[in-house]
Subunit: 280 residues, 3 copies
């Protein structure tokens, strides 16, 4: 395929960026420079560069919260890549009209949930389409692939290619083995109640459980770390400093302290068991 055939200028297409690079070393700047050189008309959105180093589960959890909020056509780029320089595969995925470019280490989990119809290709380098997706190399850099920074040299050019309207198939062949997926612990329903666990904790100290809010249609209570907590409509039903449970913005039960930290209050954290009793 001739370079650039059928490839638009990417005007207005969004490329989101999630990494564990921090910003001070200039690595993120280098990636954004490559994106800007290859897709001048695309729009770059920083999601975060402050993930813990190698925090692939944290990356998947964050991606889950935003990938579908962006409009179709958006290219999500996730470079949390402790396996750079090993045999881990670089992937490009497509689901519900959004794209993801990322290493095959579990961060793609949200696009591979049960029920999703997802295309997956293994990115080859150089791209079959020719060099960096058929686009001219960003002056004055020759096309090359470093051993330690595939974010700049492989993932960013692949994201640029998709933002320009290039085909997934031009990045490499369909993946034969399925991508790595994180399995979250499944909550269980019994006769006497439901059993789950804390699966996440945000910056405010809110404790996310894996108990679906819909299992508590008439409210109820949850117990964790020795505390029994009532599900309430919202934070306003408790006083500042009081413990509460609420169905959160992800649709699951969350334990929180109004104007405080439930993690500090209870000592609970990811892995802590949660026993729920829905009201009958």
């Amino acid at each position: 395929v001739a370079a650039g055939v059928g490839v638009a200028d990417g005007g207005g297409v969004i490329i989101t960026l999630l990494t564990d690079f921090g910003t001070v070393d200039g690595y993120v700047g280098a990636m954004k420079g490559v994106l800007a050189s290859l897709t001048p008309a695309a729009v770059i959105h920083d999601v975060s560069h402050d993930l813990p180093a190698g925090g692939i589960r944290e990356a998947a959890r964050a991606l889950h919260r935003y990938w579908l909020r962006y409009p179709p056509g958006t290219v999500h780029l996730v470079v949390v890549d402790p396996g750079v320089g090993t045999r881990r595969r670089p992937l490009a995925l497509s689901a519900r009209g959004r794209f993801l470019v990322a290493p095959d280490n579990g961060v793609a989990t949200p696009l591979l949930a049960p029920g999703e119809t997802t295309s997956v290709v293994e990115i080859q380098w150089p791209f079959p389409a020719g060099g960096q997706g058929g686009a001219p190399a960003p002056d004055p850099f020759p096309l090359s692939l470093s051993r330690t920074f595939h974010g700049r040299d492989l993932f960013a050019p692949a994201a640029a290619w998709l933002a320009l309207g290039g085909a997934m198939a031009e990045l490499g062949p369909q993946a034969t083995d399925p991508p790595l997926v994180f399995r979250e612990p499944s909550p269980r329903r019994g006769a006497s109640g439901v059993l789950g666990e804390v699966v996440g904790m945000d910056r405010f100290g809110n404790l996310q459980t894996n108990l679906p809010g819909e299992w508590f249609p008439r409210g109820g209570t949850v117990e964790l770390a020795g505390w029994q907590v009532y599900l309430v409509e919202s934070y306003g039903f408790r006083e500042p400093g009081e413990l509460l449970a609420v169905v959160n913005s992800d649709g699951v039960v969350e334990v929180a302290v109004r104007d405080g930290s439930a993690a500090a209050f209870t000592g609970a954290g990811p892995g802590t068991s949660v026993f729920g009793t829905p009201s009958s």
Copy 2:
């Protein structure tokens, strides 16, 4: 009013974003995705997501520094919202051609300073204009309002509505009660001098007082924490490591250490009294 009547595409309109969410949890990504879905042609500027959790005074202080630097038409979005899920009102304000969308908890103080002519509406949900400001819901999400994340579900759509050129009145009725405003301590002028206090401290350890620079037309001295400090023209009048006072970029007296931290040097901080003696 029919959805979309008189609403432009928001091309080039800037939406600024100030939160206490951090970035790693993906909440900011979710908000930016909603903004991008509803106002594809608007431009999003991150101001900060690293405010201390619940730091509403810090938010107001930061907003004070940037809201008027942006061009007219800009929509400032501030989501520091410890009261989400309580009765605190969601507000949209307009002053000097700029907009602010924020909870009613004091963060709007800069737009409500004496002398400002400010319109204020209480945002209703769903918007009277219809759903999310009359704009189509971002596929594939139905219109809904979570209990814990009004930044994504209410404030971002309201900001998008204004960026699209939608009318304030379509977001809700004029506010009847005045919004909450922080009162900064007022400095006083006496026969023997002027009395103020430290009201802020920045990342560099510079101590901002509430003493207006114009009260020192011929220079003078300030005393705080046992130190007497001369007002100088600029940092260059002192050696590295020396204490000095200067009229800062906000127009108030600031105590600083050249190439160092006045907070560490003096032990002073917000609330410390400052006694000034303008030169005669």
Copy 3:
């Protein structure tokens, strides 16, 4: 020269931003507001605002990684400016089609490397072109220069001027004295081996040396802090937790621990000697 003659609207031109301001104080927001007011059609890219306070060497090192990755025409703005209010010169530089606006304190080093052809002007204030680069002052601010915040009042307007296509010469006269440049320690080659040192450390604890990768065409070993480490092709040649050396994405030898921190593992850091033995 009449204001605005030959000045385009800056559509699509990128202005990158690197500071040590942090974001929470709103100073970065103020700078971005000024840029948006003066160059509405330019695109602002945050590189980092989290440099250590006064971290001019860190700024130069980061800039080195990204300045050439951006397309020609890009304006790089670096405001790490502990000398604000002293006699340090504000500079605008041009090399390889990219611009840099920064204080004269060494951060411009990457654009002044041996072999670069670089133009340098000393920015005057107000600009000879008239006010803020001939552009209208951002309403409602008069043109003024604070003593403590040249990032907002001088560097951002100068960057905006260049983004609009304004001439360097309209910002001030050619620099007579050469700008300050950091001299990195030079590695040396001897009969028995090569001698260098650790010159940088990134967020992951990787140790960058100043030994060029091309000095090890057939591999070899490096010694530091009592450890002898083999150069390998990539991280994949070692197990998690093992020490290795690799030619990194900057083209120099880097000592790393797979899935870990070489800084923590070895105790080495910037300044630690590194003795290399290329394979023969």
